[in-house]
């Protein structure tokens, strides 16, 4: 006997993501899902972003980390609420862990939640967390071929950040190749070319993300 089912296998994750999104909409909170390879600069980007925006917005952080609390500790100096999720080898966060993490945050007193996903360009792309949008972060030392190799995340990201642009002279990273691949994948992304260590390009990012947080707050 054959029984037709036709159901999304990740239905449970998807349903919880819808609930998380509704909850955040009700609280007028922007949630950003930051996805990148290990070492691309997610935590450094968050450090710079917290430095620039904690005086204007109430920021919360959900840290996905396989085993340590090192990233969370780096962000403690901003005196903002941080929830650390240790995945114990798991390669992504899912909407259930985000839902539990949000219970630990005072969502009546937040404007934005930055989720630092586990460093990985494939697995996190399959799991909707209920975020407002996805941010794909790439560093120049990883190579300009990453959008072509990991199309799903670069296709679905609303913002793409290219970090470590100051190192381009020391690598074979070709910005024209990178941009051509990105343009074939995604027509609606915002690209920021930055160097977190030198501070290049960060002002544009702060202005843009500040505008997004304001839009949700006024919605």
């Amino acid at each position: 006997m054959e029984i037709k089912i036709l159901k999304n296998i990740l239905n449970k994750n998807q349903n919880m993501a819808v609930q998380v999104r509704e909850h955040l909409r009700g609280k007028k909170i922007l949630m950003v899902n930051i996805i990148s390879s290990p070492g691309a600069g997610k935590t450094t980007l968050l450090e710079k972003t917290c430095e620039a925006l904690t005086n204007r917005f109430r920021i919360g952080i959900i840290e996905g980390d396989i085993t340590t609390d090192r990233d969370a500790r780096r962000l403690q100096k901003y005196n903002i609420p941080i929830v650390l999720i240790n995945t114990g080898g798991g390669c992504h966060l899912d909407s259930y862990s985000i839902s539990r993490a949000l219970e630990s945050l005072d969502t009546d007193n937040l404007d934005v939640v930055f989720v630092e996903n586990v460093g990985n360009l494939i697995c996190p792309a399959q799991f909707d967390l209920g975020e407002s949008f996805r941010l794909a972060l790439l560093s120049t030392t990883e190579g300009d071929d990453k959008p072509a190799k990991y199309p799903m995340i670069f296709r679905e990201a609303e913002a793409v950040i290219l970090n470590k642009t100051d190192l381009i002279p020391y690598t074979n990273f070709r910005k024209d190749n990178f941009k051509a691949d990105l343009a074939r994948l995604n027509k609606n992304y915002h690209l920021f070319e930055i160097s977190c260590t030198r501070g290049n390009g960060l002002t544009d990012w702060f202005t843009w993300i500040g505008g997004k947080i304001e839009d949700v707050r006024k919605s």
């Binding site: 029984i3 159901k7 840290e63 114990g88 990991y150």
Partner: protein, 127 residues
């Protein structure tokens, strides 16, 4: 004075192929029980190309997770669905190859993805 970090351990978060296999088996066992099956012999699924599932890894995870369930030793049939789209500008539909999502006819980026992101269970067979 810093705020303390709230820390969770979420060991349920595993490689995505394993997680997908685990969720699939829970749907299979629930459906089989509802339908009164005693044994599941075959499970058919389809995965979109964009999801980048490693089928070998998935099959190993599936064969491990079905042990001791109603679907033990069930065959797994995986269909890979290509990425296709329709252009909202000139209305042509096309298969996306070599990561070019823009319309091959008019060059528009205003497109709608029709397939390629599936993670579906299609059917189970058994008695």
């Amino acid at each position: 004075m810093c705020l303390p970090v709230t820390r969770y351990h979420e060991f349920a978060e595993i490689m995505h192929e394993l997680r997908i296999a685990e969720d699939l088996i829970s749907i299979v066992t629930e459906t089989a029980t509802e339908e009164g099956l005693k044994k599941v012999a075959k499970v058919s699924v389809c995965f979109g190309e964009m999801v980048q599932i490693d089928c070998g890894c998935f099959e190993v995870a599936f064969s491990e997770f079905v042990k001791g369930t109603i679907a033990e030793n069930a065959e797994i049939d995986i269909e890979i669905i290509p990425v296709t789209a329709v252009c909202n500008n000139c209305k042509c539909d096309y298969k996306i190859s070599n990561i070019t999502f823009t319309c091959p006819e008019c060059g528009s980026g205003d497109i709608c993805i029709l397939s390629g992101k599936e993670l579906f269970i299609k059917s189970i067979e058994g008695d």
